[in-house]
C-alpha cells in the first residue's frame, strides 16, 4: 500500500471512530440538528476520500448511507433504533472494507450486499416517519430573490477531489441560474499546470431559498475557495430583459464582472425603469480566507518514540554530567550542571506528556459494547463515564481496552439483573455501569462499578473447593476469597454464554493489567453491586526504583513493591533454617539471589535483604548492597530475553552502564516453592 493510501486508511479509521462517537451521542438526542449535520459531513468526507483512493466499495456504500442522512437532515426521515443499529453495523463494515483485499473476501462481500439492501429499503421509504414529525417545509408562497455569487476556487481545489463544475451545477437545484465563467487567471499554455484550477465563476441565481442554502452547496469546499454571496434584490432579475442584455454586454471571459458592475447595471436598469428604491446589496456572508485553527498535529508514533529515546539519552547523559561535576567540584561547572539537570527534567516531563491521550479515546468502545450487549440480553443498562479527560500513556490505554471490555461484559452478563428481578428488589428498572477515572498520588485509578447482583462470596468458595483450588477447610477472609476469581479457569456461571463464562476471564484481566504494572481489586456487596478498581502507574517509561548491586552488576527493584531493607551477615543467611529470617518479631522467607542467579564469585561479608511486598505476605531478596533510590527510564530488553521474564527491562545509569530492572513478583513466583507462602501464614 502506498503512502497516500495508508494515510487515507489511517484518516478513515479516525473518521469512523468520530462517527461512532457522534452516532452514540445522537441516539440520546435525536433532534440535535448539529449532530446530524456532523454525521453527514463525516460520511461525505469518507465518501470523497475513498473514491479518490480507489476504495470503490466504500464509496458506493457511504454514498447510500449519506443519502439516508441527507433525508434525515432535511427532516424527511427520523432516526429510529433500527437505523442506528444499521448505521453502527455499517461503521464496522466500512472498517472491514478498509482492508485492501476486502473485495475478495466472501463474508465481507455478503455483508456488503445485505447491508446495502437494508439501506435501500430504508431509502425507499419503509421507515418514513409519521406525517406529523416531518419538519415544516418552507411556505408555499414563494418569494423569489436574486443573488450574486462569486465562486473562486483555490488553484489546489482539484487535489482535494472536489470538482468545481459539480458545485456550480448544484445551483440548478435551487432555481434558475446563470453561471458566468471567468478565466482571467489562466496562464499561458506552456505555464499551465493541468492539476490546478484557474477558473472562477460568477453566478446569478434566482431562488426562493435563503442564503444558507447557497452556502450549503459549498459546505465541503469552504476551505478551498473564496466565496462571496450578495443579495441583489427581490424578484427575478434574470427574467428582466434589460438586465440580461446589459449583463451580456459586460461579459468577457478574461475579466470578472464584479459585484459593483452588476450593481451598476441594476441601478441603471432601475433608473431607466424609474424605480426609486435602489437595491443596496448587503454583505451577508463572507467566507473568504476562512482559516481553521490548527489545534493538533498528526505525528507518527515512531517519531515520538524516537524523540522519547533521545530525551531518555539526554537524561542519562545529564546524570553522567552531574556525576562528573560533583567529582570535579568546580563551582561554575556545578551551576551549569544543575541548570541542565532542571532543564532536562522539564524536557523529559514534557516529552513524556506528548504520549498521553485522554481516557475519552477508549470510552466509545465501551459505550457500544454496553449498547449492543444490553440489547442482545434485553436488559436496560446505562453506561456513565466520569473523568474521561484523565490522560494516560497511549500504549497503556491500548492495553487497557481488552481487560475493561471483559469487566464490563461480566457486569452486563452476570452483574446487572433483568428488569423483572430488579423491580422485585426495589431497584430502578435501568441498570447502571459507571466508569470512573481519577488521579491519586502517582497513580491513575479506574473504577468500574455496576449496581447489579454482586458476587456471592460463599458461592465462590464452594466453586473453588469443587474445582480443587482451595482446601475444604482453608481459612480465607472475604477479600482472599474474592481474589480467587483471578485464578485461571475460575467461573461461577452455570451456563456458559457467548458473552462470558468460559473460565478464561479474570485471570487474563489480571495478567494484562499487571503487564501494565497495574493492580486489580474487587469489592462487592450482594444485591447492590460490584466495583472493580484498577490501579495504574502514571507512565510506563519511568519508574521509581531501588538500585541494588549483586556481583558488580546493578539491578533496579521497583520501589512500589519494596517494603524495607535490612543488613545481615552472610553466615546468618547461610545458616538460616528453611530460608527464614527473623526480622522485626516475624519470620520472613527470603530468596538468595546469588544462588538463583547462579553467581559464583566471592560473597561479601555483609549482605542486605530487600523486603518485597508480595500480595499480602512479605518476602526478602538478598543483594550485595543497596545503593539507593533511582529514577529509572525503562528500556525494553527486546525479544532476545523473552524467556527471562524475571527481568522486566533495563535502564541506563549515569556512567553509561546498563542496569536490569527486575520484576520481583516474577522472581518470587519463579524461585519459591508454592508452599512458601503457606509457611508464612
Amino acid at each position: 500500500m502506498d503512502n497516500f493510501k495508508r494515510k487515507f486508511v489511517e484518516e478513515a479509521h479516525d473518521l469512523l471512530n468520530e462517527l461512532e462517537v457522534v452516532l452514540l451521542k445522537i441516539e440520546s438526542d435525536s433532534e440535535n440538528k448539529e449532530t446530524i449535520e456532523h454525521i453527514f459531513r463525516i460520511m461525505h468526507t469518507l465518501k470523497g476520500n475513498s473514491a479518490m483512493f480507489g476504495f470503490n466499495l466504500i464509496d458506493q456504500y457511504t454514498h447510500q448511507l449519506e443519502t439516508i442522512y441527507d433525508l434525515i437532515r432535511n427532516g424527511k426521515m427520523i432516526i429510529t433504533s433500527d437505523l442506528m443499529d444499521l448505521t453502527l453495523a455499517s461503521v464496522d463494515h466500512i472498517r472491514n472494507l478498509l482492508d485492501e483485499d476486502a473485495g475478495s473476501k466472501i463474508e465481507i462481500t455478503t455483508t456488503h450486499s445485505i447491508l446495502l439492501k437494508k439501506i435501500s429499503q430504508i431509502i425507499e421509504g419503509k421507515n418514513l416517519p409519521a406525517a406529523g414529525i416531518k419538519l415544516d417545509s418552507s411556505p408555499e408562497v414563494e418569494e423569489l430573490k436574486t443573488y450574486y455569487v462569486h465562486f473562486k476556487p483555490n488553484p489546489e481545489i482539484l487535489s482535494n477531489g472536489t470538482n468545481p463544475l459539480y458545485l456550480v451545477e448544484d445551483f440548478k437545484a435551487l432555481g434558475e441560474y446563470l453561471p458566468l465563467p471567468c478565466m482571467e487567471l489562466l496562464p499561458a499554455l506552456d505555464e499551465l499546470d493541468p492539476e490546478k484550477c484557474f477558473t472562477s465563476w460568477e453566478i446569478i441565481l434566482v431562488t426562493s431559498e435563503d442564503i444558507d442554502k447557497i452556502n450549503e452547496i459549498f459546505i465541503f469546499a469552504e476551505d478551498s475557495c473564496t466565496l462571496d454571496i450578495q443579495e441583489l434584490g427581490a424578484g427575478n432579475l434574470l427574467a428582466d430583459q434589460s438586465f440580461c442584455s446589459r449583463l451580456k454586454e459586460s461579459v468577457s471571459l478574461n475579466k470578472t464582472i464584479g459585484i459593483q458592475k452588476i450593481q451598476e447595471i441594476i441601478v441603471s436598469r432601475d433608473s431607466t425603469k424609474e424605480k426609486g428604491d435602489t437595491l443596496k446589496p448587503q454583505n451577508i456572508n463572507d467566507v473568504s480566507n476562512k482559516l481553521k485553527n490548527i489545534s493538533s498535529i498528526r505525528v507518527s508514533s515512531e517519531k515520538l518514540d524516537e524523540l522519547i529515546n533521545l530525551v531518555s539519552e539526554l537524561v542519562t547523559t545529564q546524570a553522567g554530567l552531574s556525576l562528573i561535576a560533583e567529582k570535579i567540584n568546580e563551582k561554575e561547572l556545578l551551576a551549569v550542571a544543575e541548570d541542565i539537570e532542571k532543564l532536562s527534567r522539564r524536557l523529559r516531563d514534557n516529552t513524556f506528556g506528548i504520549r498521553l491521550i485522554p481516557v475519552e479515546n477508549m470510552i466509545t468502545r465501551f459505550q457500544r459494547l454496553v449498547r449492543e450487549l444490553s440489547h442482545e440480553l434485553k436488559k436496560d443498562i446505562a453506561f456513565i463515564a466520569e473523568g474521561t479527560d484523565i490522560e494516560m500513556d497511549k500504549t497503556m490505554i491500548e492495553g487497557l481496552i481488552d481487560p475493561i471490555m471483559h469487566i464490563i461484559r461480566n457486569s452486563i452478563d452476570h452483574g446487572i439483573e433483568e428488569a423483572g428481578v430488579r423491580k422485585k428488589l426495589g431497584k430502578e428498572k435501568q441498570g447502571k455501569i459507571i466508569f470512573k477515572a481519577y488521579y491519586s498520588g502517582s497513580n491513575v485509578f479506574i473504577k468500574i462499578s455496576d449496581d447489579g447482583a454482586g458476587i456471592d462470596v460463599n458461592l465462590i468458595r464452594q466453586h473453588a473447593i469443587k474445582k480443587g483450588l482451595i482446601q475444604q477447610d482453608a481459612a480465607l477472609n472475604g477479600k482472599e476469597i474474592l481474589d480467587l476469581i483471578f485464578l485461571p479457569g475460575f467461573t461461577t456461571s452455570e451456563n456458559i454464554t457467548k458473552i462470558s463464562g468460559r473460565g478464561v476471564g479474570m485471570d487474563v484481566v489480571k495478567r494484562k493489567i499487571s503487564d501494565l504494572r497495574g493492580e486489580v481489586s474487587v469489592e462487592t456487596k450482594i444485591n447492590s453491586g460490584t466495583t472493580i478498581t484498577i490501579k495504574l502507574p502514571l507512565t510506563l517509561s519511568i519508574i521509581d526504583g531501588l538500585l541494588v548491586e549483586i556481583d558488580k552488576a546493578f539491578f533496579v527493584i521497583p520501589l512500589s513493591s519494596v517494603n524495607k531493607c535490612f543488613e545481615f551477615k552472610h553466615e546468618t543467611l547461610v545458616n538460616a533454617v528453611n530460608n527464614l529470617i527473623f526480622i522485626n518479631d516475624g519470620h520472613i522467607p527470603f530468596i538468595y539471589l546469588r544462588k538463583e542467579f547462579e553467581i559464583t564469585s566471592p560473597v561479601p561479608e555483609i549482605e542486605q535483604i530487600v523486603v518485597i511486598e508480595y500480595g499480602d505476605s512479605k518476602i526478602g531478596l538478598t543483594v550485595d548492597k543497596v545503593i539507593g533510590e533511582y529514577q529509572a527510564v525503562l528500556k525494553s530488553l527486546g525479544n532476545t530475553f523473552r524467556k527471562q521474564d524475571i527481568i522486566s527491562g533495563a535502564t541506563i545509569l549515569g556512567d553509561g552502564t546498563v542496569a536490569l530492572v527486575v520484576d520481583p513478583n516474577k522472581i518470587i513466583s519463579q524461585f519459591t516453592y508454592k508452599n512458601l507462602t503457606n509457611i508464612n501464614n
Partner: protein, 162 residues
C-alpha cells in the same frame, strides 16, 4: 548496492573467531564497537553475553564463540562487538555479536563464492552461505539470520507477531 550487484561484487566484513575467519554482508553491519562492559542477564542462555548501552538503547550481545561451540577465550584489545541491523520480515532487529577480532572489508565477486560442503563441515552447514578462498585459507560467509533464527531462544516468529 545495486551497482555492486550488477557488477557481481558484494562487500563483506570479515572477522576472526578463534582461528577461523568468517565474513558477513556489510549491508547488515551498523557499526563496530570496542569491547565494553557487558551487563550479564541472569538465567539467560550462556552464549547470550548480556546487554550493552548503545547510545541510549539496550542492545543484546551474543558470544559467537560459544554459539559455534568454540572454546571460550580471554578478551583482548582486539575483541570487538559488531552491531548488526537485521531485517526480519520487515522489522528491524538489532543485535551485537562478540568476535575475537574484526579483520577487513572485502569486495568479493559472487562467482568466486563457492557453496559450502555439506559433508565434513565442522559447522552447521545451514549457517554458511558460502566459502571464499583467500590464499591458502577459506573465509566462511555466514548467513547470520539463520544463525539467529535456528535458536529457539530468540523467537523471531513471535517477535513479529507481537
Amino acid at each position: 548496492m545495486i551497482m555492486e550487484k550488477e557488477s557481481g561484487f558484494q562487500t563483506y566484513l570479515s572477522f576472526q573467531l578463534n582461528t577461523e575467519v568468517f565474513a558477513i554482508n556489510v549491508a547488515m553491519v551498523l557499526n563496530i564497537l570496542e569491547m565494553k562492559h557487558i551487563t550479564r542477564v541472569p538465567k539467560a542462555p550462556d552464549y547470550i553475553k548480556g546487554v550493552i548501552n548503545l547510545r541510549g538503547t539496550v542492545l543484546p550481545v551474543l558470544d559467537m564463540r560459544i554459539r559455534f561451540g568454540l572454546p571460550e577465550m580471554v578478551n583482548t584489545v582486539d575483541t570487538s562487538i559488531i552491531v548488526l541491523s537485521l531485517d526480519f520480515n520487515g522489522e528491524e532487529f538489532r543485535i551485537g555479536i562478540l568476535v575475537d577480532a574484526v579483520k577487513e572489508v572485502l569486495e568479493l565477486k559472487s562467482a568466486e563464492i563457492t557453496p559450502s560442503p555439506t559433508i565434513g563441515s565442522k559447522y552447521n552447514s545451514d549457517f554458511i552461505e558460502g566459502m571464499w578462498r583467500q590464499n591458502d585459507s577459506f573465509i566462511m560467509i555466514l548467513d547470520i539470520l539463520k544463525v539467529l533464527t535456528s535458536d529457539e531462544n530468540i523467537d523471531f516468529c513471535d517477535m513479529v507477531e507481537e
